[in-house]
């Protein structure tokens, strides 16, 4: 039996796992999908929000501002990129300006530092590409950007380095307790037991909570569609450009990413299925239309990919539900964590871990590993460093992904690490291979070969992201002996 089982290996589940790994506890993470960051954590705006949006006093407000302040240290420890590029909420008419004032006051109430309203002239100086319609903006210097899947993966990797176990493809179907022991049964009938359960299962979180608590919640899956523009557009905006919420809705944002691409989105649409991550003609059209408010000449011919993510919107409280369920001792929720969930994750992880550890009377470990399985990134090394590395491991001299300059060594390392890639998308999110402008056109066959080699499986069993997502369906000739 484990001390703690965390259901869900998104950024929240992994953050809790990492914080819990500081305690003398046996921790198991059960993830329904094939990899970490397989839900909202892989498909969101990648924004570290300043915290002026949330209702004062809400969990969203509290954890947003606290989480934001933790980001430098968290990302430094995990070796993931983080840039405080500032956020701007742009008003497109004088009528919208009072709303910026409202946001500023709300932000100050939430404890967001440094907020100020800037006029058109300053806005144009800061962001020359801003639409001529823009009249002013709220500037939030603590707004930032990070890579959500890199953050999740390295968080998991550090948790694993400190003893947390991860099991994938284990969708939890039922949860129940007897005599202080929690029993989780997966869809395939496997049973796992623990003294405490943390429910960080995103869109499934109400489903699990409602099995054990009289306080019922409801998760409404909410889809947001995005488009990513080529890094050739780097520099179009320095800050994350939000639109002032108005009669046209919240609007879409345009932001640089830490990988130099430009992200545009999201739309917001309530949908029936938590799996409906398709993009739609309607959604993409709407996003195109709305984004031109910020960037009149936004070059969609530079699109490299479109995607959508599903947010877990809780409809009774409209807030994060965090902590032990009042009538289910040992069952802890991190439920309804939608935006600003990424920003809040480090703080949520810390608080929930402390709460669980206190419940289980766990002591802090004396030594903690700070290992996150960092591997050398070819494009970041000097000639001397590269030569030294290639002499040791020639795989680092073979470029596999041309567009992003990713070597075979990096790809193999991403498979060999503790929470290693098992799929093509797993490699993609750990290394950026296939994320460039050719979208895997050249390197896909190479990645299949390397993955099959590392895992000791035939290539026709290699999947894009688990399940039936096989890359190829058959072999033309019998395998050579």
């Amino acid at each position: 039996m484990n001390d703690v089982i965390i259901v869900g290996a998104g950024v929240v589940g992994c953050s809790i796992a990492r914080s819990l790994s500081r305690y003398e506890l046996d921790v198991l993470v059960l993830e329904g999908k094939e990899d970490v960051a397989s839900g909202a954590s892989k498909a969101n705006s990648a924004i570290v929000h300043a915290g002026f949006d949330a209702e004062p006093g809400s969990n969203k407000a509290k954890y947003n501002v606290r989480g934001n302040a933790m980001f430098e240290e968290t990302c430094r420890a995990l070796h993931v990129p983080f840039i405080r590029n500032t956020s701007l909420v742009v008003a497109f008419s004088e009528e919208e300006m009072p709303h910026l004032q409202k946001l500023l006051e709300r932000g100050e109430q939430n404890g967001v530092p440094g907020l100020r309203i800037i006029d058109q002239a300053e806005l144009r100086t800061l962001e020359p590409n801003i639409s001529k319609e823009a009249v002013g903006a709220l500037l939030a210097p603590t707004g930032g950007i990070c890579c959500p899947y890199d953050l999740t993966f390295r968080t998991a990797e550090n948790a694993a380095a400190n003893g947390v176990k991860f099991l994938f493809n284990k969708p939890v179907k039922t949860v129940s307790s007897e005599n202080g022991v929690w029993t989780l049964v997966t869809e395939s009938g496997e049973t796992f037991q623990a003294r405490a359960v943390v429910n960080a299962s995103g869109v499934s979180s109400a489903f699990l909570n409602n099995q054990v608590s009289a306080t019922k919640y409801n998760i409404q899956p909410r889809r947001g569609e995005y488009v990513m523009l080529d890094k050739s557009e780097k520099g179009c905006f320095r800050a994350t450009m939000f639109q002032c919420p108005g009669p046209m809705g919240k609007g879409v944002l345009v932001s640089p990413t830490v990988d130099d691409t430009i992200i545009v989105g999201p739309t917001s649409e309530d949908i029936d299925s938590p799996d409906a991550t398709e993009t739609t003609a309607f959604g993409l059209d709407k996003m195109r239309r709305l984004s031109t408010r910020i960037w009149t000449e936004i070059p969609f011919r530079k699109a490299i990919t479109t995607f959508s993510g599903i947010r877990a919107h809780e409809t009774t409280k409209h807030d994060f539900v965090l902590g032990e369920a009042p009538d289910a001792p040992g069952f802890f929720n991190a439920l309804g964590v939608e935006s600003p969930g990424l920003t809040s994750a480090p703080a949520i992880g810390q608080d929930l871990a402390d709460e669980v550890a206190s419940k289980l009377d766990a002591k802090k470990k004396e030594t903690v590993s700070d290992d996150v399985s960092i591997w050398p990134r070819m494009r970041e090394l000097s000639t001397e460093e590269l030569n030294e590395l290639i002499a040791k491991d020639p795989h680092y001299g073979r470029v596999i992904c041309r567009c992003e300059t990713i070597s075979e060594g990096e790809i193999r390392a991403s498979i060999r690490c503790r929470v290693g890639a098992r799929t093509i998308d797993g490699i993609k999110r750990r290394t950026r291979a296939t994320m460039g402008r050719c979208q895997g056109g050249f390197c896909t066959p190479r990645l299949m070969e390397i993955l099959a080699d590392e895992l000791g499986i035939p290539q026709e069993q290699v999947t894009k992201f688990g399940g039936e997502s096989r890359m190829v369906l058959s072999r033309l000739f019998p395998e050579e002996k």
Partner: protein, 421 residues
């Protein structure tokens, strides 16, 4: 500590091989090719169908056979090809940084460089096709590599979006290997591939070509389960009510090729927005002195035979540049795209050069039947050509004596007396 090379060729596809051989044959002793793949030959190695070399060798070769002739030639000339070597950077003063597992980081100082990196395929993401993101969506070239070089079948029931030549070839190839190709769907009212490929790869196998149609949605969570196809109006927008569903496990995309000029941009080589390749003169020299460009990195070709010809010019001229024997032109003739013409290459012609003939090629901007195209300098017609049909899928090429351009500041290539469709 950089290695000095007279002519350094980037890429050992058909363009690079031909350029290197020509540079050596023009007397350059120090020629080297850098190739990122494991072996020379480029994309030709996966083009195992026949149809190559009809112009060049007056016989029908497969892609690998065509490539082999040039590989053999390069080997006979003892030109080193360094494979598994990725060029990371080129500077305008022709310093080249490359990396390989065997040699680590290498620095070269070249007297002349020939850019021959080829092109890549336009992706699903670039088209922003809505739908799910399952396995089973491949660009046609990636599928061609999987089938012909890796020995795998991406799927069994296939829809092809776009009628580029690789898509057409793959329609036939997948059919040969037992797959059912349900349709080839083309947004435009005409095929973007060669007529002969439409006939030999679609018509001969009863594969429908749906012109003025597009894929409006991809279905299937893990693997592709189907695609929705709709007719499009004159503005290429889907027409509601025309949707049809194709149940399939694979969607191949053959929706355009893009010259891969990432390195050219690093070397500050100006590119043409029309061809997406460098702007060059008739020696294939870019606007950066000593940097030449040829093959699909310069502009997308339909026939490799012309890649070879063009690349031989680039190789020869690079050798002359390296030897310091390039005549300095006193004047240029600019070559402009006129009505119905897109992407003339070269964009300018020197008044002096070692070659007496100058080749101009372009793509028709639309389909024109019983049309005439011409090269015009003011009122003066330098050349007139009649054609039964001009289509964007078939580029046009002509050779003219350099003499004809003497003293002419600008010529326009244009379609005239067209009777559209």
């Amino acid at each position: 500590m950089s290695q000095e090379i007279d002519v350094l060729v980037i890429g050992a596809g058909p363009a690079g091989l031909a350029a290197a051989a020509a540079a050596r044959e023009a007397g350059c002793q120090s020629v080297m090719i850098l190739e990122r793949d494991d072996a020379p030959g480029g994309i030709l190695q996966q083009c195992i169908h026949p149809g190559f070399g009809l112009h060049r060798f007056k016989e029908e070769l497969t892609g690998p056979e065509y490539a082999q002739r040039f590989i053999d030639r390069v080997n006979e000339l003892q030109i080193p090809i360094q494979c598994r070597t990725m060029v990371l950077d080129i500077t305008p003063d022709r310093q080249v940084t490359a990396i390989s597992p065997e040699r680590g980081v290498q620095l070269f100082q070249a007297k002349a460089i020939v850019l021959a990196m080829g092109c890549r395929e336009r992706t699903r993401g670039a088209l922003m096709i809505p739908g799910t993101r399952p396995a089973g969506v491949y660009s046609a070239g990636t599928a061609q590599r999987l089938v012909n070089m890796e020995g795998f079948m991406p799927g069994k029931r296939v829809v092809i979006l776009g009628s580029g030549d690789i898509g057409l070839i793959m329609a036939r190839r997948m059919t040969f290997e037992g797959a059912k190709v349900l349709a080839c769907v083309e947004l435009m009212p005409f095929s973007s591939g060669l007529k002969r490929n439409v006939v030999q790869c679609l018509n001969d196998f009863d594969i429908p070509l749906l012109l003025s149609h597009t894929v409006t949605q991809i279905h299937g969570r893990e693997r592709v389960e189907g695609v929705t196809v709709a007719a499009v109006d004159e503005k290429r927008r889907p027409i509601p009510g025309t949707e049809q569903y194709f149940e399939c496990d694979t969607l191949l995309l053959s929706v355009g090729l893009i010259p891969e000029n990432e390195l050219s941009i690093k070397a500050k080589v100006p590119l043409s927005p029309v061809t997406s390749g460098p702007t060059v003169d008739d020696s294939m020299q870019t606007e950066v002195p000593g940097i030449f460009s040829c093959g699909n990195v310069l502009h997308v070709h339909d026939l490799v035979d012309y890649v070879s010809l063009e690349s031989e010019v680039a190789g020869r001229e690079a050798a002359r540049f390296a030897a310091g024997s390039t005549p300095v032109p006193a004047a240029y003739t600019l070559v402009k795209d006129g009505f119905g013409v897109r992407g003339c290459v070269p964009q300018r012609i020197r008044d002096a050069g070692a070659d007496e003939k100058v080749a101009i090629s372009f793509r028709p901007a639309d389909v024109y039947r019983n049309a005439t195209w011409q090269i015009r300098a003011g009122e003066n017609i330098l050349l007139k050509r009649r054609a039964m049909i001009l289509t964007p899928g078939e580029s046009q090429r002509v050779e003219l004596p350099r003499e004809q351009f003497k003293g002419i500041p600008e010529v326009t290539v244009e379609v005239v007396m067209e009777e559209k469709k």
